[in-house]
């Protein structure tokens, strides 16, 4: 059985700095890995390499068993990214943004697909609103609709809760929970321990580019993990 997402010895350097340093993991379809780490740990760099936005200095990413090289484009149909930035154009409406991205992904059923995605993130009545007029929470939901528009098997979430108020966080969390349907392979990057542990099947702690551990989340309790995390940051950070 092939893995949904694999990283093998991923390294990314910027000058003399090793932002990501030999990260390897394997995720089966349906699994959600949460990567915790302090600021500057290399989490976003890791996610950008997994999403094919950034070329690794060395190492390889495989999506559904196939090499996911930056230069090749076909595997990108299988991956969706949600960032703390919306990746949307503020001057365009949500529908226009989704239509634009749908065209880039070669989707032909946009008339049916866009309302469906907007409905699924609770934005059915906001399609014609310019993105710049949306609150932070609604903008993040629009970003989720964009990332899931092409029905990707692998979803990468980079600090999706950043800047959200408690209610918006709760709504987003419910939507992210719907990704745990056994079909999606998900990597969530965050430094918020509570939000990160809630949905995780496996957790990793990344510090100074390295994965210190990859553990099953089922065996963890929040207090114990919090102590472990702080000790790891103090020792290696």
């Amino acid at each position: 059985m092939s893995f949904g997402l694999e990283a093998e010895g991923l390294v990314r350097t910027f000058g003399g700095l090793r932002a990501v340093d030999g990260v390897s993991f394997q995720l089966r379809p349906g699994e959600l890995l949460t990567v915790f780490g302090p600021n500057g740990a290399g989490k976003t760099t890791l996610l950008r390499m997994l999403g094919g936005v950034m070329r690794p200095t060395s190492g390889q990413v495989r999506v559904a068993g196939a090499p996911a090289d930056v230069a090749s484009r076909d595997w990108r149909h299988r991956v969706g990214i949600v960032s703390h930035q919306s990746l949307l154009y503020g001057q365009l409406t949500i529908e226009e943004n989704l239509r634009f991205y749908g065209r880039l992904f070669g989707l032909t059923d946009l008339k049916a697909r866009i309302p469906e995605r907007l409905e699924s993130v609770g934005l059915a009545d906001r399609g014609r609103t310019p993105v710049r007029d949306l609150s932070r929470g609604l903008k993040q939901r629009a970003a989720l609709a964009r990332a899931l528009l092409h029905d990707p098997e692998v979803v990468l979430l980079d600090e999706p809760y950043t800047g959200l108020d408690p209610h918006a966080s709760k709504v987003l969390r419910e939507q992210l929970a719907s990704l745990k349907d056994g079909r999606h392979t998900v990597v969530l990057v965050t430094h918020n321990l509570i939000q990160g542990l809630e949905l995780a099947d496996r957790v990793a702690i990344q510090i100074r580019g390295r994965f210190l551990s990859v553990t099953d989340a089922g065996s963890l309790d929040l207090a114990g993990f919090e102590a472990l995390y702080h000790a790891a940051v103090a020792d290696h950070g």
Binding site: R48, G51, G52, V53, M54, R55, V70, A71, R73, D74, R76, H77, V79, I81, S83, Q85, S86, L87, L88, Y89, G90, Q91, L92, E96, F100, Y101, R103, L104, F105, G106, V131, R146
Partner: protein, 226 residues
């Protein structure tokens, strides 16, 4: 091929739609053209210099400097909310992204060029006695070469710490052939010289436009990918 062209048009269409909403680049370029027309009108002593004799140079300089104002901001809108990352994560070939930007910029600049001819025609009462179709060909090929280069270097400048101020330094030296052949051909067409006298310029402008577009499309991934 049809799918590839669809992707190119998707990028161009999005850029034009954003411009249609904001009028940001067209307003800057249009205001520049009108102001330059007014300044030239007051600064050229028509008793000493016939505007007709220097019209081609004035027109091309206005196109280059005005175009630089708008085209320099090509990738600025992609930086807001990291939209470029969204495009790079999609399956669109990088060259198609570049060509889409070129098509969008070419359409925008064509609007500005039309304004340049209207403004200069009005201020200097220019008389044109050549072939209008050939003039359109000369300007279109010159503008395509200019747009291809400027779009490419605009991506490079946006990612550098010097920003847009770097753009003229990078672009102007490479623009020399476009300016020389474009200005000469436009000049000859203004005074009604036969088309045969500008066919060499047309071929050179076409060669540069193709060369710049193909080379920049190929090199674009080295500029845009991280």
């Amino acid at each position: 091929m049809r799918n590839y062209l669809r992707l190119v048009w998707a990028i161009a269409r999005k850029d034009l739609l954003v411009e249609f909403r904001t009028h940001e680049r067209l307003t800057a370029m249009g205001a520049f053209v009108v102001l330059i027309g007014i300044l030239f009108n007051f600064s050229i002593d028509s008793a000493l210099v016939r505007p007709q004799d220097i019209a081609a140079a004035l027109i091309w300089m206005t196109i280059i400097f005005g175009g630089m104002l708008g085209l320099g901001r090509t990738f600025r809108l992609e930086q807001e909310d990291a939209a470029l990352s969204g495009i790079l994560q999609s399956p669109i070939p990088i060259a198609a992204l570049y060509l889409g930007k070129v098509v969008g910029n070419f359409i925008l600049l064509s609007v500005m060029v039309a304004l340049v001819f209207v403004v200069f025609g009005a201020f200097f009462s220019l008389r044109f006695s050549g072939s209008p179709l050939t003039l359109v060909g000369v300007v279109a090929l010159g503008v395509l070469g200019f747009v291809s280069l400027t779009t490419f270097f605009s991506a490079m400048a946006t990612r550098s710490s010097m920003g847009e101020s770097l753009l003229p330094v990078l672009v102007f030296p490479l623009l020399v052939p476009v300016v020389v052949y474009g200005t000469t051909a436009t000049d000859r067409l203004f005074i009604g010289r036969p088309i045969a006298e500008v066919s060499g310029n047309l071929r050179m402008l076409a060669a540069f436009a193709i060369l710049f577009t193909v080379a920049c499309a190929w090199l674009f991934r080295f500029v845009i990918e991280e």
